[in-house]
């Protein structure tokens, strides 16, 4: 049925990747668009509007209009099976379409006439892109252990040494040259963005966005062009930075959606999101929360729980409730595989379940199924949904086939990092001592 496959995203959205390649959607894996051949669609040689009505975009629209499920969208269709609030549902909502009233809300959608136009014109769109994702590059002051060199310049440096320590676990990093390092291309993109009328939302990803000059260059151009008051900016930060330049920038936009990456409220966060310091990050979160009271700043915590941080997730939820700030989405970490939640020992799994059930009882938590999670009036309900999502996942997951191998790999993975960083996981997660020792730590 059309309601099980249709997505309105290509009628208003596209993405620019780290290397400048275009993609049709922010939820595509960066390598998912093709079978490994190099993209012919890059910001260096093509404008945003040219790509917007390129063969690829028109093909995707046609496919969706014909009721097909494009392979590149398979992540969303997979998540549909678990009724997860995924990219497809979020993008449909931006067209005013909800799945439980799909036919009527599609007819009533402000984008309906645009769908009709594309249906009659081989997928060509007459609506301009209003929602852009811009991946700036890998410039970053953090080297989180679950990250990858293409998203962190600091980790890229560490991977050169890690590859020598353990060539099997760590691939040699290829130097990532982001498209924003080319001044001519950056200027070209800025010039085009500042002339696209009706832009509503731009989401930036790094690296560390607030550490990247290209982020400020684009935002300041939008302020100068007078578009900022009509545009919502979204981005994610590691929480290590806060200064008046950022605060002043936030004030200039219609809304500013800031996701702050954090895994725990203990020093375990320092180990995982190295070399950030949790007390500094919490101090910055407080500054952003203070700024929230004076501006249209909307804050969420971006969490990516792994085999260790999951053990303290109840404390993080208590922190969210105390601060009245949501955790965005429920992304289950699956790479690097040796950090997956499913590798935790059974006794710790049971303890986490008890702690989460106690939290659910304490706050009388029931499922709310909030669709627009960035609604300031829905914060409490969004937190409830996230708590239940994680409790259900921990309760229901099945052991991975290669669990034993991955646990051994985990120990090697940690030891390699620790050799460089001169630290120890046991100083931050002592309850894992017996577990890690059993696998050779």
């Amino acid at each position: 049925m059309l309601k099980d496959s249709f997505c309105s995203s290509p009628w208003f959205h596209l993405r620019i990747n780290y290397n400048g390649d275009f993609d049709e959607c922010r939820w595509f894996e960066e390598t998912q668009w093709s079978d490994g051949t190099k993209s012919n669609n890059n910001v260096a040689t093509q404008s945003i509007m040219e790509f917007y009505n390129s063969e690829r975009m028109c093909g995707l629209r046609n496919s969706l209009l014909n009721g097909n499920k494009p392979k590149s969208c398979e992540t969303c269709y997979y998540e549909d099976r678990f009724d997860k609030l995924n990219g497809r549902k979020r993008q449909l909502l931006k067209s005013g379409i909800i799945l439980n009233e799909f036919e009527l809300t599609t007819r009533a959608s402000p984008h309906y006439d645009n769908f009709v136009y594309s249906n009659n014109n081989q997928g060509v769109a007459n609506h301009r892109p209003t929602d852009l994702q811009i991946n700036l590059g890998n410039t970053c002051n953090s080297a989180c252990i679950m990250c990858r060199p293409t998203a962190s310049s600091r980790l890229e440096q560490e991977y050169k040494k890690l590859h020598k320590i353990s060539p099997i676990l760590f691939d040699p990093p290829q130097h990532t040259r982001s498209w924003t390092q080319d001044e001519t291309t950056l200027r070209k993109v800025v010039d085009e963005i500042t002339t696209i009328p009706g832009l509503r939302y731009i989401h930036f990803l790094g690296g560390e966005t607030l550490y990247d000059d290209a982020f400020y260059a684009i935002c300041e151009a939008l302020i100068k062009s007078g578009q900022a008051k009509e545009i919502i900016i979204g981005t994610t930060t590691n929480g290590t930075l806060y200064d008046t330049r950022i605060a002043n920038l936030i004030r200039e936009f219609k809304e500013f959606h800031l996701g702050i990456s954090i895994e725990t409220v203990s020093t375990l966060n320092d180990y995982i999101r190295y070399p950030g310091k949790i007390h500094e990050i919490q101090a910055n979160i407080d500054k952003f929360l203070q700024l929230r009271t004076q501006t249209k700043l909307y804050i969420s915590l971006r969490i990516t729980p792994n085999v260790f941080t999951i053990s303290e997730i109840d404390q993080l939820f208590e922190y969210m409730i105390e601060k009245n700030v949501i955790a965005e989405s429920c992304n289950i970490l699956y790479k690097p595989e040796c950090l997956r939640i499913e590798l935790m020992p059974q006794d710790i799994r049971q303890r986490i379940l008890l702690k989460l059930d106690a939290l659910i009882d304490k706050y009388n938590i029931t499922k709310k199924d909030v669709l627009n999670i960035r609604n300031e009036n829905s914060i409490a309900d969004v937190i409830k949904d996230v708590v239940l999502d994680y409790r259900n996942f921990i309760r229901d997951y099945t052991l991975l086939e290669n669990t034993e191998d991955l646990r051994k790999q985990l120990v090697e993975f940690l030891k390699s990092f620790e050799q460089l960083r001169n630290n120890s996981i046991l100083d931050h997660a002592p309850e894992y001592t017996d577990f890690l020792r059993a696998y050779g730590y």
Binding site: L2, H13, L65, S95, N375
Partner: protein
Amino acid sequence: MPQNIQTFSALTDIDTKRRLLVKLKLVRHGSTKSLTTLNQFAVNVDDVVFELDLFDPIKLQIELLSTESGGGIETLLEINGIEVLPKYQYLSSSGNNYLTKKGAWQFEIPKNFYLWHHNVSGQGFIA
């Protein structure tokens, strides 16, 4: 409403006539007299269902002619299973769905119910 549409072309064939099921209920507290109209149709019973077109604006008007002390009319409105009143009573002319004073009261959905509901229920921006 058909739920097995396979392609967008098939969806364009859907008739949009009589797609809004509007349930209006007036709950009277004490003895009251009133005149009620929904989109200029006179409403003569206190529990009624209308079928409107998908894009029809909706205008509900009640004139409370008389009421006894402590009495009034509570107005409940539901469209396609979605609660409208009392949930969005603050958007009515008095800011309240409970009428206790003589005079005119009005609640209006100026256009496209689903788009209106998207906005008032805080579903975020339309791209």
